[in-house]
């Protein structure tokens, strides 16, 4: 036998998807050598040392032959240690230590320790999804991530602790327990999600929060420091509808590729609150090896921008496209990637630079105007609702009598409103009112003459611009959905008008 060729499928992460990579191992007679080709990075090239040691330490043979490993397709850049296992299995097959027919329809993914143990890799869920899509029947991964991979049905996930066990498995001498798909969080500080009942007062903000959650509308909270803007925002995921299976898979997939996975299916929507010093790249993703940004980490959840006025303009500018399309497209070199980025945007800001607001504020009109100009920057035309938070006197905080409504009660109304929307939007691409296109808005939100009166008057007097018109309509539709009204009424429109965001125009100083 002059040469033997073996090939083993494995996966490389690309964005939040897994691309199939075939590891081909060619073993032939010649001076012993071990080469890896196919755009490997340093970590992949170092796999040679790990594979050699892992094989020898597992009591297996490392063939003294001329070994060439090719990672195909050759033009995709390969990074990381997740190819170790596939290379090792390829070497075993090429050297006749495992029966080649046992590899039929099987993919492997894992990093190897020098002792031959399997280590977990990132992205178990997308890898499993990729496996199923590629028509493979079996996936071998380390036990730590087997539960996550098993979330994907129609796939036999083998939880294998070591290379020795894998060889046993391939020789049919051993069978792993089939891992159970994990749908709840594993052990750990299972902190109860924050509840709206903890928030006292703030009727205006609570109402705005409910509308935002019900229609998927973006929200800006204005209030003095300490009024509870962050506290309220943190409670948004708890009043949004619980994620559907599809959404949960989406969330888990992102967590999986970024190494934030809990090891099971995410049961809650993410809440991300990046600091205002974040760069555009940190917010939307990027880098020479594109990594997802905060907006992707918040996919299907809440992206909270506290101190909106302090964010760098380019960072907010970069957010516009993801907010519009629900995805981030990144191009690096010849590779184009798309990260999902469907988020509910919540932002918060102080009412003025001094942060006091109301009649105690000492900021002059020019100072305020400058501050507002900063705030009204690139994002303000993406904001559907603006609400106000009252500075709470210490007494109101101390009194425990006036506990607010609980998140569960609000969520029930939100879910009901979402169901009404779903019925109406079944035919369209949108999943909630906020996603309605301009055309769909006018079609799906018909107004009676009476209901459209506040809008017409606002347009006439210049209070409302054409651009804000549709935004008000969508919010009005959500308000009616919350109240269970078939038709959007005059009061719904007026209330939506009251919550709309206004780019500051000329004030008394100008």
């Amino acid at each position: 036998m002059l040469s033997v060729l073996a090939s083993v499928p494995t996966f490389a992460l690309e964005g939040v998807d897994a691309r199939e990579v075939t590891v081909e191992v060619d073993a032939r007679r010649g001076l012993p050598a071990f080469t890896v080709v196919g755009l490997p990075d340093t970590a992949v090239r170092e796999a040679r040392e790990r594979v050699r040691s892992a094989l020898l330490n597992s009591g297996l043979e490392f063939p003294l032959q001329r070994l060439t490993v090719n990672l195909a397709p050759a033009w995709v850049r390969k990074a990381g240690a997740s190819f170790d296992l596939a290379i090792a299995v390829g070497v075993l097959a090429a050297s006749g230590q495992v029966p080649p027919e046992a590899l039929e329809g099987m993919a492997v993914s894992g990093e190897l320790s020098l002792g031959g143990a399997l280590r977990p890799v990132r992205g178990a869920l997308p890898i499993a999804l990729g496996c199923r899509a590629a028509g493979l029947r079996r996936l071998v991964v380390s036990p730590e991530i087997a539960g996550e991979a098993a979330l994907v049905g129609e796939l036999e996930v083998c939880s294998v602790p070591s290379l020795t066990r894998l060889v046993d498995l391939l020789h049919d001498r051993w069978k792993p327990d089939s891992p159970s798909p994990r749908t709840s969080r594993p052990v750990g500080p299972a902190a109860a999600p924050p509840d709206l009942a903890d928030v006292r007062g703030q009727a205006d903000a609570r109402r705005a929060l409910e509308i935002a959650a019900a229609g998927g509308h973006s929200l800006l909270m204005i209030g003095p420091p300490g009024a509870g803007k962050t506290m309220l925002a943190r409670r948004l995921p708890g009043i949004l509808p619980p994620p559907t299976i599809e959404e949960a898979l989406d969330i888990t997939r992102v967590q999986s590729v970024t190494g934030n996975s809990s090891g099971g299916l995410a049961s809650e929507r993410p809440f991300r609150a990046p600091h205002h010093t974040i760069s555009a790249q940190g917010l939307v993703g990027g880098g020479s090896r594109p990594r997802p940004g905060e907006v992707t980490l918040a996919h299907r959840g809440v992206l909270f921008l506290d101190e909106l006025a302090e964010f760098a303009r380019p960072a907010l500018e970069a957010l516009r496209q993801p907010l519009e399309h629900g995805s981030v497209d990144i191009f690096r070199g010849q590779v184009g990637l798309s990260f999902p980025a469907r988020v509910l945007l919540a932002a918060a800001a102080n009412p003025c630079p001094c942060g006091i607001g109301g009649d105690r504020c000492e900021c002059g009109v020019l100072t305020r105007e400058r501050y507002r100009a900063r705030l009204s920057g690139p994002l303000i035309d993406r904001i559907d609702l603006v609400c106000q938070l009252a500075p709470l006197p210490a007494l109101a905080l101390a009194a425990d009598s006036a506990a607010g409504e609980s998140s569960a009660a609000v969520r029930a109304r939100v879910v009901a409103a979402r169901e009404r929307q779903a019925a109406r939007l079944a035919a369209s691409a949108a999943t909630c009112n906020a996603e309605l296109s301009a055309g769909a808005t006018r079609l799906l939100v018909p107004l009676t003459a009476k209901a459209s009166r506040p809008l017409a008057a606002a347009l006439d007097t210049g209070v409302l611009t054409g651009r804000g018109h549709d935004r008000v309509l969508r919010v009005a539709r959500t308000i009616a959905d919350l109240a269970g009204r078939q038709r959007v009424g005059r009061d719904d429109v007026a209330e939506a008008l009251g919550y709309r965001a206004v780019a500051p125009g000329r004030t008394a100083a100008g």
Binding site: D204, R207, D359, E362, R372, Q388, T461
Partner: protein
């Protein structure tokens, strides 16, 4: 109504020619006046160097007829110190301008001879309160038939002019640049309105941009033109205080609007009060000061809209700058209805968005 003799006109244009060099010569505000008191030749030699040569050449070749044609073309009237329309009040200055370049109703210059005028000034970065007070002062004075003089600056100045215009009162803007140069740029609409129904006056000829020295120089004119100067809000370092100093030096009445003692924004105006300036709360205080107590019998009417009781409570709550929750409680409405009701009031023009945030009362013609 208008007219200027050749030598005065020449002096006006000479100032325009040298304006950039005066800036370089002085460098700091507050000290232009000794220079402006000099005669043509002395001014030229004070500037010295290349500027002096240019100035002397200009004095020799100045063509009054062409200048007059240019002024006519620009819609600018020139009133020189020898003309009957020239305000006698300016003669109290030892460096009165030889010529005033005017746009708008030149007859207002004669009006301030007959009835006293009031200068209302204050900081540009004013608190909303100060803006409101300045606006009410302008409106009250306008209703009482008193001319409001100011500098068309952002903040207090602009609000005073707008108040006067809103009451169809007379108002004069004294500019630091030429009479046709809109400064600040954002006040283009205000400039146009004042030219239409008030008067714009400048010491520099048309087309001249303002210089650092020309703001205090303009302030001396505002102080001199009026019988009384009212400072609405001024910090400790405000240029407004220069106007107050001029007014006192010229023996004019000085008034100031009291501000909160703990704020820096009103530190300058509060100091004026401490030093003996008259306390001004509204236009009737100004009238009392000008004409003696009891002159104004009829209260100055406030334009109040017809609204139902709930809306009235909403308006009152907005006026007290309550936050939304407070407004809702005060009006006895749930928040969602409050938002809706406020939106309706906004549509009716009775309140408006305070930038991105809450609401504020909207005043007519603001």
């Amino acid at each position: 109504m208008s007219g200027a003799c050749d030598s005065c006109l020449r002096r006006g244009y000479l100032l325009g020619l040298l304006s950039g060099r005066i800036a370089g010569l002085l460098g700091r505000p507050g000290a232009p006046c000794a220079l402006l008191a000099l005669g043509d030749a002395a001014l030229a030699s004070a500037v010295g160097g290349k500027g002096e040569q240019e100035a002397l050449a200009f004095l020799g070749r100045f063509e009054p007829r062409r200048a007059r044609a240019d002024l006519r073309h620009a819609g600018v009237a020139a009133v020189c110190q020898h003309h009957e329309s020239y305000p006698a009040a300016l003669e109290d200055l030892n460096d009165q301008p030889a010529v005033l370049f005017c746009r708008g109703r030149v007859e207002l210059l004669a009006a301030i001879e007959a009835e006293p005028a009031v200068t209302v000034v204050g900081t540009r970065d004013a608190t909303p309160d100060a803006i409101e007070i300045a606006h009410d002062l302008g409106r009250g004075l306008g209703v009482a038939g008193i001319t409001t003089i100011s500098g068309m600056a952002l903040g207090v100045d602009g609000a005073a002019h707008r108040g006067a215009l809103g009451a169809r009162g007379a108002t004069i803007a004294v500019l630091a640049g030429g009479p046709d140069v809109v400064y600040p740029r954002r006040h283009g609409d205000l400039h146009r309105q004042i030219v239409e129904s008030g008067l714009v006056v400048a010491e520099l000829p048309p087309g001249q941009r303002p210089y650092r020295w020309s703001f205090p120089a303009r302030n001396r004119l505002m102080a001199a033109l009026a019988r009384m100067t009212v400072v609405v809000e001024a910090g400790e370092a405000s240029g407004t205080l220069i106007t107050a100093d001029f007014a006192q030096d010229l023996g004019r009445t000085l008034g100031a609007v009291p501000g909160r003692v703990s704020t820096r924004a009103a530190a300058g105006s509060n100091r004026l009060l401490r030093e003996g300036a008259a306390v001004v709360r509204d236009a009737s205080d100004v009238l009392d000061e000008l004409f003696g107590i009891g002159f104004s019998t009829a209260p100055i009417p406030l334009a109040e809209p017809e609204v139902d009781p709930v809306d009235r409570r909403l308006l009152d709550a907005v006026e007290s700058r309550l936050d939304i929750d407070g407004i809702a409680t005060f009006a006895g409405l749930p928040v969602n209805e409050t938002r809706a009701a406020l939106a309706q009031l906004e549509t009716r023009g009775l309140i408006r968005r305070d930038g991105l945030f809450g609401w504020e009362r909207a005043r007519p013609a603001r």
